[in-house]
Amino acid sequence: MNRLMWVTAVVVCAVGCSRCTDPVECADCYPEPTPYELDIPAFFPPMDIPADNPMTVEGVELGRYLFWDPNLSADGTVSCGSCHLPSASFSDPAPVSTGVGGAQGVRNSMVLVNVGWSPSFFWDGRSVTLEDQVQIPIPHPDEMALPWHEALARLEADPDYPGRFGAAFGDPEITQERTAKALAQFVRTLISKDSKYDRWRRGETSLTDSEFNGYEMFLREGGDPETTPGGQFGGDCFHCHNEAGTLFTDHLFRNNGLDASFEADAGLAGVTGMPLDSGRFKTPTLRNVALSAPYMHDGRFTTLEEVIEHYNSGGVPSSTIDPFMKYTTGGLALSPVQKADLIAFLHTLTDTVFIHNPAFRDPR
């Protein structure tokens, strides 16, 4: 009798175990996903995680697979990572990215650095959540050009994805919403916190004289006080690329004096319809700025020197140019040494640990 019970128990256990190894057949057998402990670095603000998309180890890993999967493009050649290269701080070294079939976008690929803290996405802020943002490039004709229903069909046909969705969400159903959630979870892990600047803030290293002078320039009001009230001969960078929370962006939208008119690209006004928003674009973070050339929303500047020179000139007047631009008072009036110092400081924001982090690379 006892022997019979033991045999029965072993058989039941064996059957149960074999069912659990086939998650497609047994939706109930997926274990609870493992909570992902996001490490918020010192000096950073708290990151808001949507209540309906808690981060999990399995969700982040699924997002990583999706991020690097070219099968999510029409011809199987373009993944998210194609235009967000780690070596370029998860942006594109080209002024505008090339999508499926050679299609060209109209704006420079934005860096994916610390975007978990961003309250809006894209140069014109047309998405206000990461979950929304990541859904746009896949069907976009200039990017991955794959309608969502086809993308989902490909994921369902893949031998690997149903199990990964099951592990991340408790059952193997593959939906657009879940795909977006997993991508957003992965992108939230792209945190840069180990630049020389960070190590300096943590007291682990010191800046060179040139870097420190550049830092002071960064934080000083711009302009000659003779012509610009309150001017301190500084770089005037801090107003927009604010050091608060060490994010180096205020996440606001500004017209930094690139063009006199906005026919080519209305920027934020294209989203809001407000004339005052014409020519305004999102302030990008300066983290890894030395790696993320070219610069501006259209990638018009190829070097940091050109960028500094643009601000030094004061910019091009227009109806919505930001009052921080010194377009009426002769620009910033920076000396060659000051410019060099400023660039030296910007290089301290380079985080090679971040760009080489294996957890962010293509897992295949």
């Binding site: 934080l219 009230p229 309150g230 009052p323």
Partner: protein, 255 residues
């Protein structure tokens, strides 16, 4: 004897229990004061982007108006100012937002004056890090976007940004960037109320708080926007203090 004991016991129980009975306590109920904030130009409604003319006939178009409002308090009949104990619950009024409002809890009752801090009091400004606040707090990195000064380790109390031009000109080519901050720029705005204000438990007491952007240029000291278009409240810069005096005198409470 039994009756006396029972009676004493009943009285004792009643007194002891009665103390916690709402009928016998001075229970503090809470209501809400809602201030609907509106920008005006010489008393007329003003929206960002409108072109108006200042006291000296300069055309002015404002692009950005933002103000920290802190420590909203009401004065009761005894003369005591009643606030709330939410130390870091300040308000950032952004006039680019439709229908900005300030909502504050207060004990129900009757009040005869209202006051608020324009900017952040010294015990907050420069004493806190934006990273320490949840993102929905106006003092946080996200909540204070564009209103935090690194170099002065404090917040910008008031932003008045836009463009202007010469008298009679339609060309608005000159920038205006008034950024006032620092502890010395903190001001308190007080309104003595003609009629007492009641805070009820059931429904919010709503009042309209108007900021007259035109008066901000002359209310206590005329400021020529062409001659003095910029301040960041830097060392030795007195323009911001004059502006804050003007700005403090440019608020109007409308029942």
């Amino acid at each position: 004897m039994n009756n006396i004991s029972a009676g004493l016991a009943a009285v004792t129980v009643f007194l002891v229990a009665g103390c916690s009975f709402p009928y016998f306590t001075h229970q503090i109920n809470t209501g809400t004061l809602r201030l609907d904030v509106e920008a005006t130009w010489e008393g007329e409604p003003y929206a960002l982007g409108d072109v108006a003319v200042d006291y000296a006939d300069h055309p002015i178009q404002l692009h950005n108006l933002q103000a920290y409002i802190s420590r909203v308090e009401l004065r009761d009949a005894s003369g005591e100012w009643i606030g709330n104990d939410r130390e870091y619950e300040v308000n950032l009024v952004d006039f680019s937002v439709e229908s900005p409002r300030i909502v504050e809890p207060f004990p129900t009752g009757q009040y005869n004056a209202i006051r608020f801090g324009l900017g952040l009091p010294p015990d907050i400004n420069g004493q806190v890090s934006p990273s320490d606040f949840p993102n929905d707090n106006p003092l946080s990195v996200e909540g204070s976007a564009g209103m935090f000064w690194t170099w002065l380790t404090g917040y910008i109390f008031f932003k008045y940004e836009g463009r202007t031009g010469a008298v009679g000109s339609e060309l608005l080519s000159e920038p205006i960037a008034y950024h006032c901050g620092t502890d010395s720029s903190y001001r308190v705005v007080t309104f003595e109320l003609e009629n007492d204000l009641w805070i009820w438990e059931q429904q919010p007491t709503a009042m309209q708080l108007q900021f007259d952007a035109a008066q901000a240029l002359y209310a206590t000291e005329p400021i020529n926007v062409i001659d003095y278009p910029i301040t960041h409240n830097g060392p030795g810069d007195t323009l911001a203090f004059a502006l804050m005096d003007n700005i403090a005198a440019s608020w109007h409470l409308v029942k």
